[in-house]
């Protein structure tokens, strides 16, 4: 028994099965990320005046990651186009670049995550707030690379132009002085929560897409000899998914880094 239209195109719809499938799947993905973006909007407009953070993320790293993903999108199209032109060698080359870009993106993202997890806000018993990156932990205290503020609100607007970043210095704090201490992980603020959830889910999509592309690049490529058309279709489908993942990032970047 054979399922019709796995490779050949059905005349009245102009599509093969998998192409219908992937577009439907992407429609549901739009709803998934759409719901999370809507939640972002609701949480942001619901936040008290002055307590929604600006400038907590490093813009140039985000820009770099945007460029990395756009590059990977271009190489994905080129990989598919190479197969359409029966050039298997350049397919291998282009998708190798795609995979490198994926790994590069994930590395930069992990660095950014790490940066948030070592970033701490420490409330002292005298009411001052120390904010900065944890340099080291000793038996009786911690060392932060950061600065002091008196009003917590000062921490929320780091993106104001002309003021510049507050001056950072090494601060030593004894354990006995600490009232509360929390790192900039998901539990720190709803902004961090939605940031980690959105980018984490996106990163899972990057990993998933990269695994599929790697499979097609390495093991699945033997189908090129038996059924080149079907193989090209598979590359197209995985490429559509990859473009979607890029597109999500194109929305994530301004929403989380710039606004």
């Amino acid at each position: 028994m054979e399922i019709p239209y796995t490779t050949e195109i059905r005349k009245d719809t102009g599509l093969y099965n998998a192409k219908v499938g992937i577009w439907l799947f992407l429609a549901s993905e739009v709803m998934l990320f759409g719901a999370l973006f809507s939640s972002y909007i609701l949480l942001r407009v619901g936040a008290p005046e002055g307590y929604w953070p600006h400038g907590w993320l490093t813009v140039w790293l985000g820009t770099l990651n945007t460029l990395v993903l756009i590059t990977s999108s271009i190489t994905t199209v080129m990989a598919w186009a190479s197969l359409k032109m029966k050039n298997f060698g350049s397919f291998k080359l282009y998708h190798a670049i795609t995979l490198c870009c994926a790994v590069c993106f994930l590395c930069i993202k992990s660095y950014e995550y790490h940066d948030k997890f070592i970033h701490n806000e420490v409330t002292l018993k005298d009411g001052r707030i120390a904010d900065g990156h944890l340099v080291k932990k000793t038996a009786d205290g911690i060392v932060l690379e950061g600065h002091f503020v008196t009003d917590r609100k000062e921490l929320f607007n780091l993106a104001t132009p002309f003021l510049g970043h507050p001056k950072h210095e090494e601060i030593e704090i004894k354990n006995s002085e600490i009232a509360t201490m929390s790192n900039y992980g998901p539990a720190h603020h709803t902004y961090n929560a939605i940031y980690f959830t959105l980018t984490g889910l996106h990163a899972l999509h990057v990993i998933g897409g990269a695994v599929v592309i790697f499979y097609l690049w390495a093991f699945g490529a033997k189908m090129w000899k038996e059924d080149p058309e079907r193989f090209t279709n598979r590359v197209e489908i995985s490429g559509l998914f990859w473009h979607f993942v890029d597109l999500v990032w194109i929305f994530l970047f301004p929403v989380l880094y710039l606004l």
Binding site: M1, E2, I3, P4, Y5, R10, T13, L15, Y16, N17, A18, V20, G21, L24, F25, A27, S28, E29, M31, L32, F33, G34, A35, L36, S39, L42, L43, G46, A47, P48, Y51, G185, P186, A187, H188, H189, T190, N192, A193, I194, F196, T197, L201
Partner: protein
């Protein structure tokens, strides 16, 4: 596919090309019919489990804090219920899991996945689903989700307790990991229906047989098509909400937890979250889900009615357009579940208006079904009886929903037993009756044997009577102000009514209304007993039922009856070509009173 015991080709009935072995044939099958039956049997088992949970709860409501008979010892041993009594925590988790199991593990898989899988490819003349392996993955994901839900009963603290709606912050702050299990289970169930929905839509778009144009598709296929779109687009927001609640539970974020939340003491959280956000995201799925429950049932009803009135279904095009309209509108009515949240008059007005508009296509569908009966020479077999009961029962369920759709009357009825009666009329004697009709109707195609007509009728009449005895009194209880989800059925309030104040207080319930609990319990037990003939009939008839006699025992027109029985792998002996619409019954001048879709004009 490893072995090579080729069976000689003696005819179309032996079209198995190779013996695939037990595991490949029955457990890891990619055949849509086997997957359909897997879904069917699994979801029927969950249906029974969900009913048993409710039976125990009804005992607790009727006889608060008395040892549960028969299973009290079991509850004590397995779930740690002290002295076999149901404490409020256990009641709450049974309540939450009853809803979850019935909606996500029983009815949707049965209506959509089981019937859809088995019947849709046959009806459109396809050899299988578009993505058979995705189909298998869908079932496996469903089973994993189900197992996670079941396991959560046995963890310390028990299963989720915050109702099937899992409202935060309640769901987040109850000290059990049941909610975490619930959320992870839901992710698997959502994945399962996502895979199913993609597969169904792709199959219906791509694999229709030559000549099977859109307006020649049986209404059942249309209803599954619209349902698949609802699942595809409405479930992901719940998945997003589930991920966020999981983050609240596991990573201690505050998506749904407001600033200053205190659960006995002030919680150590960042705050800033919105409980209303969860409700919006939940009901964005929750309301389309109602139509996921009802549309496939309407599809089954249309097939059975056309077949047993021996005439075309009345207003086929109106049915199709109404189903599409329902599908679209169901995405913009969700907040009528949230009138009590204080989200604002303007928003409530908007959703009240859309809610009233969506009742129009629903009424059109029901009216078409009723009109189809007019002037037909009706055959009163078991499937038809269930369908005939579906019409008024669903009518009651639908019409009693109108007062809930209006903002002002909902303020009184919200969260009372009236709501329970309303949606159970839609789903229990509504959808479930249609599903029973579907089982009796397609059983001969699946097995080659008929289910017993006599026991089918016993099953039908007892179920019909008991269903009404259970749910009709709840309207009265609810209108008098009996609130749902009380583990003692409102006994506390009754005490206030009788002794302390000596006058009518809101929520104080009269002894007559309270005593109805006992009658509802009896009716529920009888409903359980009424399912025994069905269960025996279902299994007994596989081997010992009356042989169907032909591939088309009901003399039906649609394509699933034009295959060998049971259909072999690949379905059709030769690829079908479709020449006509789905309901050409009693065509004047024709030799038989039915003309199959694949019969050429000159034949």
């Amino acid at each position: 596919m490893q072995t090579a015991h080729a069976i000689p080709h003696t005819g179309v009935h032996e079209e198995h090309h190779e013996d695939a072995g037990f595991w490949r044939t029955y457990i890891f099958s990619t055949d849509h019919k086997v997957i359909g039956i897997q879904y069917g049997v699994t979801s029927l088992a969950f249906l029974l489990l969900g009913f048993c949970l409710m039976l125990m709860m009804r005992w607790q409501i009727a006889h608060p804090s008395e040892r549960v008979p028969l299973v009290g010892g079991l509850l004590e041993k397995v779930l740690g219920a002290s002295q076999g009594k149901m404490d409020p925590q256990l009641y709450n988790s049974f309540g939450a899991m009853h809803g979850t199991i019935m909606v996500f593990l029983a009815i949707v898989p049965l209506a959509f996945a089981a019937f859809g899988n088995y019947v849709v490819p046959l009806m459109i003349g396809a050899p299988d689903m578009a993505f058979p392996r995705v189909n298998m993955a869908s079932y496996q994901s469903y089973v994993i989700g189900g197992v996670i839900m079941l396991v959560s009963f046995f963890i310390p603290g028990g299963a989720a307790q915050a109702g099937w709606t899992s409202y935060s912050p309640l769901a987040t702050s109850i000290a059990t990991n049941g909610q975490t299990f619930w959320l992870i289970g839901m992710v698997f169930l959502i994945t399962s229906s996502l895979l199913g929905a993609v597969n169904f839509i792709a199959t219906i778009i791509q694999l229709r047989a030559p000549g099977m144009t859109w307006m020649r598709m049986p209404f059942f296929v249309w209803s599954q098509f619209v349902t698949a779109f609802l699942l595809l687009l409405a479930f992901p927001p719940l998945e997003a909400a589930g991920i966020m609640q999981l983050m609240d539970k596991v990573a201690h974020t505050s998506f749904f937890l407001p600033t200053g939340l205190a659960v006995s003491t002030l919680q150590n959280i960042s705050g800033g979250g919105s409980p209303l956000l969860w409700q919006h995201l939940f009901w964005f799925l929750g309301h389309p889900e109602v139509y996921v429950l009802i549309l496939p049932a309407m599809g089954i009803v249309a097939e059975v009615i056309a077949n047993n009135t021996r005439k075309p279904i009345w207003g086929y095009k109106s049915l199709v357009y109404s189903a599409m309209t329902i599908g679209f509108l169901s995405f913009i009515v969700w907040a009528h579940h949230m009138y009590m949240t204080g989200m604002g008059i303007r928003i409530a007005t908007f959703f009240q208006t859309t809610t009233m508009i969506i009742s129009i296509p629903s009424v059109i569908i029901l009216t078409c079904m009723f009109l189809s009966l007019w002037g037909g020479s009706i055959r009163f077999n078991t499937p038809m009886l269930f369908v005939m009961a579906f019409l008024p029962m669903f009518g009651i369920g639908g019409l009693t929903g109108l007062p809930l759709g209006f903002n002002f009357s909902d303020l009184h009825l919200h969260d009372t037993y009236y709501v329970i009666a309303h949606f159970h009329y839609v789903v229990a004697p509504g959808t479930i009756f249609a599903l029973f009709a579907g089982i009796y109707y397609w059983y001969p195609k699946m097995t080659g044997r008929m289910m017993s007509e006599f026991w089918g009728q016993v099953h039908f009449w007892l179920s019909l009577i008991c269903m009404n005895l259970i749910f009709q009194p709840m309207f009265a209880q609810g209108m008098a102000g009996m609130i749902r989800r009380m583990s003692d059925g409102g006994a506390n309030y009754t005490a206030a009514h009788n002794s302390q104040l000596g006058m009518d207080v809101i929520g104080g319930l009269s002894p007559t209304l309270m005593h109805l609990h006992v009658w509802i319990l009896y009716a529920a037990v009888c409903l359980g007993l009424a399912q025994i003939p069905f269960i025996i009939n279902f299994f007994w008839s596989i081997k010992h039922g009356k042989p169907a006699g032909s591939d088309n025992p009901w003399h039906a027109t649609t394509l699933e009856w034009q295959t060998p029985t049971p259909p072999p792998h690949g379905n059709f002996a030769k690829p079908p070509v479709v020449y006509r619409g789905p309901y050409e019954y009693s065509v004047p001048g024709h030799a038989t009173d039915f003309t199959p879709q694949n019969q050429p004009d000159n034949a």
